[in-house]
Amino acid sequence: MGAQIAADYAGREPVLVTVLKGAFIFLADLSRSIPIAHELDFVVLAAYDGALGGQTKIRLIKDLDLSITGRDVLIVENVIDTGLTLHYLVKTFALRRPREIAACTLLDRPYRRLVDDLPLRYVGFTVPDDFFVGYGFDLEGRFRGLPDMRIVH
């Protein structure tokens, strides 16, 4: 995937944007496999607690540090299921007039998609509907550091 991204973005210096925390290990490996100049940035999304009468609209609680106006943005996800998060990010970043927005994901579950018009350009693996831990995937905040992905039964 890194070689393909490098070929596609040659001479363009993309910004790789990741939503913390799940994709940070994948991002680290992906970044090191892309042999062209690129920058990294991170966002954090507010957790939903509408059922408790609190936060009822998705928003960034940590925004990008970089300006993406006129830049090529590549959103890096660990997994895309419904596509709701990616849809929100694309809409939000598009307001800042980047040159282009695309996305890549380590894992994809296209059969769970609720939003189809996503700029998903790179997919590592299309996976069955299993629950993974390790390699950034957590269970109650644990197991992110496992070097491999494992299925929880």
Partner: protein
């Protein structure tokens, strides 16, 4: 033939709509959370009629997402118990191949709950 039911709710706010069960409320809140427009039960689809043309089976999906042109049926039942809904969805797809519909299941709720620490109805 599909029939419109314009008298039903066509809202985009979970607080303004009368839902049939807590799972639909949570689904509406999730859609609101992500800023997706939705309508609640805006259309009924006739699945089967008798020889006189009387409706003997119809299906009203829970939500319609206009931006996605997608109908959504919500269930938080166990996977093993969703057969009836799956059968209706299969029938709808056969009769209305142009209609996009998906089942939003317990597992989808769990995934979103895990990812963003949602507090969802069981």
């Amino acid at each position: 033939m599909a029939s419109e039911t314009p008298g039903l709710q066509a809202s985009s706010s979970a607080d303004e709509t009368h839902f049939a069960n807590p799972a639909e409320v949570e689904c509406a809140k999730i859609l609101d959370f992500y800023g997706l427009q939705w309508k609640y039960e805006p259309r009924s689809f006739v699945l089967e009629t008798d020889e006189e043309g009387r409706v003997i089976e119809a299906f009203t999906p829970d939500f319609y997402l206009p931006e996605q042109d997608l109908y959504l049926e919500v269930t938080v039942m166990k996977q093993s118990l969703v057969t009836r809904k799956n059968r209706k969805i299969r029938k709808l797809r056969e009769k209305y191949p142009e209609i996009k519909i998906k089942l939003f299941t317990r597992r989808d709720f769990d995934r979103l709950a895990h990812k963003y620490k949602l507090n969802l109805a069981s």
